[in-house]
Amino acid sequence: MSVSRLAKVRTGSIFGLDTQLVSVEADLAVGLPAFNLVGLPGGAVRESKERVRSAIINSGLKFPLSRITVNLSPADTHKDGSHFDLPVALAILAAANEDDLEDLHDFGILSKLSGVNELENTAFFGELSLDGSICKMDLAMAMVLGLAEKGITNMFLPAANLREVIEIPGLHFYPVSHIRELISHFADGEQIRPVTDKDWIQVYALYGENEVLTDENDKNDRGYDCEDFFDVKGQESVKRALQIAAAGRHDISLVGPPGIGKSMLAKRIIGIMPDMNELESKEVTRIHNIAGVTQGQKGGLIRKRPFRTPHHSVTQAALMGGGNRLRPGELSLAHRGVLFLDELPEFDRRTLDMLRQPLENRYIDLSRVGFKGRYPCSFLLIAAMNPCPCGYFGDPNHECICTETQRQKYFGKVSGPLHDRIDIHVSVGAVKIEDAEIGVSGVSEEENVRICSSTEEMRAGVIKADTAQRERQGDVHNAHLSVAQVKGFCRGDTLAEDLLRTAYVSFSLSMRAESKIRKVARTIADIEGHETITAEDMSEAISYNRGNNFGRSVG
């Protein structure tokens, strides 16, 4: 009888947005029986000792009678989560010899658990229940995506999580619903059949809770269910601005009196943005999974671009991310999608100013005790606000009742630097009676379509611009071009350059404003299909820079 018996299996540990590969090592030594778990286990991991013991005993095995030491390596990082149960149990059983596991015969299994040690590309995770069954875990998606990145190709996971992750290609999933299945798999008993993304039909049938994947459901997932821009009448200029914003990822502010459809317009922008590719989809799914936010019930990858609308009472931590587990905040949840800040001046001024760095860098660096992390937050900002506290400043049909001081105080909440970072500023005006279709019965279908663009039409323009950008500069959108790229790509023809020079002088623009105008003009040219920026594109872009001034006096 050897003095010490050793086994090592792999699992993962979620660390910020990252997943770290963790080795669970079990050592069964001679001595008074004891069970020690080392390697900075968090609360839930420490308690896994009790679950593992009960689960092993209740599935009819003996819990090895020796001095058990389980190490979670690397031992210097903090680990949390209940998914360590399964690897811990397996490591202990694999380290045990026949003497320890005398009851294996009851399963009709004759050999000890073999082959567990040699499994380099295999990871195990799952929470054990006291009877030995394996419970569904949180963060399965983040775990699978993270481990796949680290080169793990075979994953033993709770069967209840299978449906959620099945569509990830290139992996072999081994669904486990009881620890007994795992034991028999490794002790040459009944084998667990691996499934891949190609088996999704069977998996959905098995674990699908009677939900059939119809066209309707598929459509919802792809994001086409977004309400149509066609519903918004008489705001063609704003729709145009939103189209440009979506095409080049330019941050945009909408200023206008209450009740004219600012929120309505903003909500529809997801529908005109191009679909996320596989990589973006994985990124977004991971962030949302770790934050504990899910879209829809059925799990799987998030296909629809996120649209986040934090309320103006949002705290700094909720916006930026934080807490002791360092959850991603609203900014990161809006990654690859849209962050809509309604009633911008109502937000806390300091909260708003925190937006500056993320808007520029498109990531947030968070550091807390023992942890530093970089969270991506490449979103499109849509800010909506009224022109004054009463809402009617500058409206031809209503009288504004605010004093000058009130107005200044209102806009003072939005700092100049933040205002400066927004590419497109538009005023949203009241809808004319002809456009509102009130009391109009006989508008012919063609005429209607002509004056009111729909999501489908706008989307076509965005996709055209998207393709143009991709061909010219790769995966970067116009709004995120570097200084050198702006110089290279955002040149206008003679007339356009003349126009910009005039504007630069007469509006005394800043250098940043100039480069922003060039970027917006580039996007307009891309939508229109112009190789170089024309004077028309340029003048439209200049108008968006001057479109509203948040109540500040025009320079």
Partner: protein
């Protein structure tokens, strides 16, 4: 029923020892004492060494006997056991390949008879 608790304890240990022998285990030590504490019975079954704590009760009014093996008592027994093993291993090179277990045997005296229950692997 007016025997004092010490006599009752001895009686219980005798009953337990008889029971252990009846299981086919051999008794290595009875009433082992050292400066760390005491262990009622140390028995041996193949390559398994079992440290047994015997608990007696006359009535269940104060809970079942095994409940009185508290964490503190468990710590004492563990410490005593490890002291015992160090001594044996150092001097006689005994038990070095053995596995070890802690059992509790409880003896309930009900009227004139007694009832016995054995908890294997009671704590670790």
């Amino acid at each position: 029923m007016d025997i004092d608790s010490k006599t009752l304890g001895r009686l219980g240990e005798d009953i337990a020892a008889e029971y252990v022998l009846g299981l086919g285990w051999s008794i290595v030590e009875e009433n082992y004492r050292c400066r760390m504490g005491e262990i009622d019975i140390i028995a041996c079954k193949g390559e398994l060494l079992i440290f047994i704590e015997v608990k007696c009760r006359r009535s269940l009014a104060f809970g079942i006997p095994s409940e009185s093996v508290t964490e503190k008592k468990q710590r004492h027994i563990r410490r005593t056991a490890s002291f015992y093993l160090t001594e044996k291993m150092r001097i006689r090179k005994q038990f070095s390949d053995y596995r070890f277990r802690f059992d509790v045997i409880e003896v309930n005296f009900v009227h004139d008879s007694h009832r016995l229950s054995h908890i294997e692997d009671a704590f670790r």
